[in-house]
Symmetry: C2
Subunit: 456 residues, 2 copies
Amino acid sequence: MEKITPRLPSGMRDFLPEEMLRRQFVIERVARVFEAFGYEPLQTPVLELEETLMGKYGADAEKLIFYAQHPGGKEKLALRYDLTVPLARAFALHEGKLSLPFRRYQIAPVWRAERPQRGRFREFYQCDVDCIGVEGMEADAEVISVAVTALQRLGFSDFAVKVNNRKLLTGIGMYVGLEGEALANLYRSIDKLDKIGADGVRDELLKSGIAAEVVARIMALLGTGEIAERGYVAAAEQLAQLRQTLANVPLALEGLAELERVFAYLEASNIPSSMVAFDPAMVRGLGYYTGPIFEAVLLSADPEERVGSLAGGGRYDDLIGLFRKTSLPTVGVSLGIERLIVLMEKRRMYPEPLQRTVVQVLVSVFNESLRSAALRLASQLRAAELSVEVFAGNAKLGKQLAYADKRGIPLVALLGEDELAAGVVKFKRLRDQHESVCPQTEAAQHAQMLLEGSQV
Amino acid sequence: MEKITPRLPSGMRDFLPEEMLRRQFVIERVARVFEAFGYEPLQTPVLELEETLMGKYGADAEKLIFYAQHPGGKEKLALRYDLTVPLARAFALHEGKLSLPFRRYQIAPVWRAERPQRGRFREFYQCDVDCIGVEGMEADAEVISVAVTALQRLGFSDFAVKVNNRKLLTGIGMYVGLEGEALANLYRSIDKLDKIGADGVRDELLKSGIAAEVVARIMALLGTGEIAERGYVAAAEQLAQLRQTLANVPLALEGLAELERVFAYLEASNIPSSMVAFDPAMVRGLGYYTGPIFEAVLLSADPEERVGSLAGGGRYDDLIGLFRKTSLPTVGVSLGIERLIVLMEKRRMYPEPLQRTVVQVLVSVFNESLRSAALRLASQLRAAELSVEVFAGNAKLGKQLAYADKRGIPLVALLGEDELAAGVVKFKRLRDQHESVCPQTEAAQHAQMLLEGSQV
């Protein structure tokens, strides 16, 4: 066969063991939080029918979809672009076997042919929880609680969740007399508040032909986009003030009442006051949201940590209806797991000492006649749930210790002819060069204690 | 947007929560065994460059590859067909960052456009461990031990690993005077022993033009293909006998010596004698194997359990060389994880009671004014690592109990106005209708005890 140079497709990654261990740490911890809130694992296939994905993401996004086929295949296939449309498709397909409310999580890769650049990949993980079938605001508060708890469990504390409501935004538009395309333009401009600032938004709105007086009223209602005040008290005050201003806009009042309930449920769920904020200027793209929307942002002054939102989501009551006769109320949140992993790396948030290998004990082999004894010892240690590597081949002590050190293996079991004859095992802990000897029968217990840091 | 009927591509599956919980049980258990033997997680992308996969699997297999592209994309991409070629590609690409021996596992889907039929899918999981860089037979024995231990940990005991060696097979060919195409034909015929029996193989060999006397000698050497005798003693006897017969064929002797070492290492690793057998008639397809080969088969009389091998693998010292200047000795084993899952389902090998949901406790809500108290209780239970669902909406007691029962949730926390006023929580365990009351402050501990089965 022809030799070829090993290459990866552009935008694709291999995860080597050290990186995988850290990714698994994040994924397992987050999944545990999802399950603690009653969200169940669901897995959809990587390939979907093209018709399932078409028309769901907008024309620009659709250009990024990867298509798939096999020679002679008749079905038009595509790699999933997100986890939300497949959820809607899967729920509609299997609803006879599922009960409502249906809470599911999925942590899995999606594919987008974005232009490759630093930190942007064409295969990357999404990490979603969604709750189908609950009309009440308890579902919105629940998925926000899930996101906050997951971020806390990963070790983040300097973040806040900005909460808003699409009904309120539309109500504000109605209040100042905007609807249809003008309202969509308003959304688009407000969405840029982070990037172009309040002045930039004001200029855009004026240029789009909205009267100066109307623009001034909008800007007064929206605030600056910076989180001025966090907490339940501040949110209640802001909501009460808007309630007065928008007293004649029923949709706005409905949105405000929903937000009041969301904040009340969050408070009852022990979500810290410092981690929530009402933000009337938050839009979350143009997506499919129909009610409350939310976004967790890092409160960091470090410009290198301007990573966008840590998590985001909202209520989208119409999507499921694309795959069944009537729609169902749905709310979801997505954790930006790839950027969380990068941030945790930068901030050294992984447990120290950083686990570089799954191996806890290296059993040395000094010559081939000692291999059987080494294998027996390894089998004994594994029976006690330890992860054990037996040295392949054989080498002098120094070389085997150097190998363990290079690999990051914490403990080496030395089993030479003397130890074998005496029925003992000698252990060397590399971190502090601590050496000890124990009877072979107690090897597993002894190793366990050494790994826990005891001076046995 | 246009409504469409929810459909899956042919041969693709959704895994609903109940099935996912069982799949995760199997995958986690198996991964834990892999790590216990020092195998590290590696993840390669789903999409590989077409050139990476081409020419590796043979023309028939290649027809089953799925290709992928995005509009305007210049790279020719394909979905991975197995986990072995991507391993070779990834190792060669990153070897500067890896040390030898490199032990890795990967449990991940692959794609093959097989004709869809019952139990055969186009997206299915493979589950591989491979060890790169060890020439000695300790690696071959190690991956066999990994497979045996994984099967044992899943609860299988009625299986055996058949072991053979490609060098021995080639040596037998040389002994009877076959080489090149005639030898390949011999392999192909022997490989059908399971299907067409010894008589069928004899006929095929005679038809292929091999002299009757030679065929008789071959058949005498190969045995019947049934596992006649298991165990280390039987294997040693068979190997010793072949050693005499093949005394003038150096390659065969080399193969026999390797097998003797493999069996010795397996015995030292506490692999039960009843689970190993030497089988000179086992070929394992025509693949890329160069040394010892092995296959775990179920010892079941039930015709519904004729599922093919549970695991299989061998030494393939040439593959890595397709992606780098020189090759490296490599040995691997693949667990047939999809058929293991099916078998475990059929045999009811999952822990009873079968976990149907992640939820351990349902906190009831009798009216909206009680929701805040329910959320507080849920938050308290989750802090103690319990998985808790809060009833969405509100309903009468009977309806909430019926919901928990339907979902398979074991415990319901009842928090009505009376309980709230008295500072207590009432629990109902559905399995035995056991009811108990505890102070709210002790709710987590109390729930834990009820879940463990105590009559508190």
